[in-house]
């Protein structure tokens, strides 16, 4: 599976890339991008995760099975978050008129 021996050069390259991305994400936080700040921070985190998973954890050189397992994990985490949010984010849309469905801690719409 990971019989593959990764050259030290690649490890060093990934390490430097991770450090640069950390600097980048910290820097971006000080620039006003509105809602995009969150998106940028998470996107960079995902890239960093991919670097670690693919190279440090050797998934790039692993069997398809490992990849399927990882994707399954991500999928189920996404299900948990999405369906829970599907409730929490739509509660205040209740069609009952005049705010009767408006729920105290949740009456503020959030984005």
């Amino acid at each position: 599976m990971s019989e593959h021996i990764v050259p030290t050069k690649i490890y060093m390259g990934i390490f430097v890339a991770l450090l640069l991305l950390t600097a980048l994400t910290t820097g971006i936080a000080y620039v006003d991008l509105g809602a995009w700040n969150t998106v940028a921070a998470l996107a960079i985190a995902v890239v960093k995760m991919l670097l670690v998973v693919l190279f440090f954890m050797h998934v790039k050189y692993s069997s398809g099975l490992t990849k399927v397992f990882i994707l399954a994990g991500v999928l189920f985490f996404a299900i948990l978050v999405t369906l829970t949010l599907a409730d929490e984010l739509t509660r205040h849309w209740s069609p009952t008129p005049s705010g009767w469905g408006a729920l105290l801690p949740f009456s503020t719409p959030f984005y």
């Binding site: 009952t96 705010g99 009767w100």
Partner: protein, 331 residues
Amino acid sequence: MIGLVKFGSTFLSSVIQAPQLRPEAASSIAEGVDHLYFVLTFITLFFTIAIFSTIFIFMVKYRRRAENEVPPDIEQNLPLELAWTIIPTLICAGLFLWASSLYFENSRPPSASTEIFVIGKQWMWHIQHPEGVREINELHVPEGVPVKLTMTSEDVIHDFYIPAFRVKKDVIPGRYSSLWFQATKVGTYHLFCAQYCGADHAEMLGWVYVMSPADYETWLSSGTPSQTMEKTGEQIFNKLGCASCHQPDGTGRGPSLVGTYGKEEELKSGEKRLVDEAFIRQAILNPNSVTLRNYPPIMPTFRGQINEEQVLQLIAYVKSLASEERNSNGK
């Protein structure tokens, strides 16, 4: 197939009409819910009986006759597999559409509903009519009039359940949930708490009295000498000293409350919020979260000083101030 279902459900509903098998149906939505229930029962019985009898026939017909018997090799039959995948899918899709549209219809109250307030606490139901009549573990409602309940809890989650009306809703601390029904039959019906809430959960029950509108009026006026919710709310308003800041002409340190209900107000954060029951409740219990744009955040919280019932009374009072303005404008 559809004809069969129709016949089956009619047949079943006549069987189930027998007392002891069908709970009283006393609200406008009960018949619709029961109809769906009968069709579901029919489907359940149909498939259960079909499966049971198929098994039984096979067991008899294909019983092992010799110890060294070798039955034929039957592996798979794609059309059959597809058939018994697709047919249940269609049945389920139909049931889903029916049940969901019925549910959506049932959860939308008619706009001209009478409002009654319900507070659940361990282990009693506290009910207050807008006219000021209060009841404990009893709910009197007029027949043929849509009634909307606004409910909250003082402690844990309860659940307001009237089987005869086929309505049920959790009553949750910290927020309002609502429920509506239109009673169609004069009578006395069970009121249950259907969400486990502690030691005396099973005793958290009461009765719903459905009365003819005339009887209901008599009951309301002769009932308790207490005053309307608005009036009580006004007294609390004065006792707590709210009026010193919220002066009706807007000269106080806080905003005038006359005419605010039902309007949009702009908050400090720039966000626009509709002033509704939930907003008023939030303003009383967590005032700084809804400070208005042009006012200082100086209002103290009244959390812990007043209970849910008094909050509802205050809300009723603030709401009455809205109509007051409308009346005076009209003049």
